[in-house]
Symmetry: C2
Subunit: 343 residues, 2 copies
């Protein structure tokens, strides 16, 4: 039996009550065409950007339409194959769907090593979180030894890696997070200080803890915090725009925070650049190896917040959007391995 | 006799009533040290950025203090020299001052060819305006063949060159300007259309005239127009932040327009970058030759709004800030050539 999370409306708040869990049949192997495979989903990455996909607005990809199965970065196993390149039992990574079984063309999938013991790492640490953190720092933020790096949502899946990679790249790191507990964690990871933005005056805290100004700002939140950090940017500073979670709650721009100090980017010659990791696919293998090296030599840690069951995916997204997650949010689907060749 | 424009207060509007014209002595040649020269000012460039310098706020350079002589990009003639590299009669370009005679170190000055017949070009077409337009388009905006280029303040000294250089670089150009007459001029220069932002709905006009979206936005104004153009930016578009004249009237950020749609820079992977031409000094000679080539082969034209007399410099800046100038604003100082060696 298959299960699918179907979009029922475009939400305009962080309440994710816009999916129906629908039962259906497993895809019929006899209907597959050349190079198609059936993938059994194992781990689904839950990301803030999922909220953008269901907003009904065209962004870097077509919006998910009402009545469609939700998409998500996921790892799964090939349980039926008409492909020359992907075999039965192969572990694959790709933009899959929020369902137990899906049909994909082999070109949509990337084979990942099954012998690696932590399959969930392929969606998080070695997947969207790790690649996003590394690319944002290196390719967009151009972090170098001695820089002062500020990162918002520093206890999030991307943020906690930005803190650690930033340190390894030689930067002094100051984080922002939304609770005492998160701030403590961020400081344990190596940040010189983590500002609790719900309690502290951000301007005063940045003034104190970034006394030499800010060279790189890795922005996960947008809005008023972005405006405040801009005040502290140094000449030729870089702002890597990775996410704007503060604005995802309301998809209409009317209520969004307006940033008033962009003209200071001119005199200070600041580069502010939006990016998405998929533009840098040519570097994934190289970066993946670097991150794996960090992990295996004990240089980094990574928290995962794993929940079992496809039925829990919408709630997991809601918690993430409200900052109630505790590490990289992942949905694990434990099930018997389908043997479609038996049928 | 010398004349100096001395800053008397930091203005907080576009009314430039913050200078005293003060009489004084010509610098005493006997007080010069090695490598100093006395320069007689010939042409002073009046630029919107002058307003930033007198605002009292530290930006890319130290603010001009109350009681100090105003600074300005200018061309002048060496009338006394203790320099090994600069001789009596040499024509020089540099960040000079709003006075008839000033003392400078040779390292602050760049010798320019006196035999070139239009000395005022060194501050405008071949100086700040031309270099800013070219660098903003090529180095920051990365304009390429087939791009749609939008430029605000398109009838301004920088804007009119952006229109023409953009066309020569193969872009389709849409301008924005503040009167029928200016728009007509911008279209004569080769823009496919020029939006009269005081009369037209900018959003609707961009929708109509940039039907394929905007690849490069050369921004001279900031504020609400910037926000509107962001809505039309294409994936991987570039925004070159050159000026924010809409915000120069009020130096406190409280009343500034807040830009609400920056999060769209993420999904569209847009680069927004502030720049000032002086960072690209290594390319000045190369770019100067290109611009001169354009001029001499009749590929570009350039309007100049020249007023005689140092006493008129503050008013000329005020007119520029209010969009009442008609071409590159320049103050010409006609006077007998000083012969300080006679004394």
């Amino acid at each position: 039996m298959n299960l699918q999370q179907i979009l029922t409306k475009h939400p305009n708040s962080n309440k994710i009550d816009c999916f129906d869990l629908v039962k259906g049949d497993i895809p019929d192997p006899s209907l597959l065409t050349e190079e198609q495979v059936i993938v059994q989903t194992k781990y689904i990455s839950i990301d803030a950007t999922n909220k953008v996909w269901i907003s009904g607005v065209k962004t870097y990809m077509e919006p998910i339409k009402i009545g469609e199965v939700m998409k998500g970065l996921a790892v799964g196993e090939v349980v039926y194959s008409k492909s020359q390149t992907l075999k039965l039992g192969d572990l694959v990574l790709g933009l899959l769907t929020w369902q137990l079984y899906g049909v994909f063309h082999s070109s949509q999938l990337k084979k990942v090593p099954k012998e690696y013991p932590h399959h969930q790492h392929f969606v998080g640490l070695l997947g969207i979180s790790g690649l996003t953190a590394y690319i944002g720092l290196k390719e967009v933020g151009e972090v170098k030894e001695g820089d002062t790096l500020v990162v918002s949502a520093a206890a999030g899946a991307v943020g906690e890696l930005v803190v650690q990679f930033g340190k390894l790249m030689g930067a002094k790191v100051v984080g922002l997070a939304g609770s005492e507990e998160k701030c403590k964690y961020v400081e344990q990871l190596g940040a010189e200080y983590c500002i609790n933005y719900k309690k502290e005056d951000i301007f005063e805290a940045l003034k104190k803890h970034c006394s030499k100004g800010v060279d790189v700002y890795f922005d996960n939140v947008g809005g008023e915090i972005l405006e405040t950090v801009i005040n502290f940017m140094n000449i030729k500073g870089r702002i890597a725009l990775c996410g704007a979670i503060s604005e995802y709650g309301d998809v209409t721009s009317k209520n969004k925070y307006g940033i008033k100090n962009l003209s200071s980017l001119i005199g200070k010659r600041i580069k502010m650049q939006g990016f998405i990791m998929s533009d840098y696919a040519a570097k994934f293998d190289e970066i993946g190896k670097i991150i794996l090296g960090y992990l295996q030599t004990g240089k980094i840690t990574f928290k995962e917040d794993i929940t079992d069951g496809l039925e829990n995916a919408p709630k997991a997204l809601e918690k993430l959007l409200n900052g109630e997650n505790n590490g990289k949010t992942i949905i694990r689907i434990v099930g018997e391995k389908a043997n479609l060749y038996d049928k």
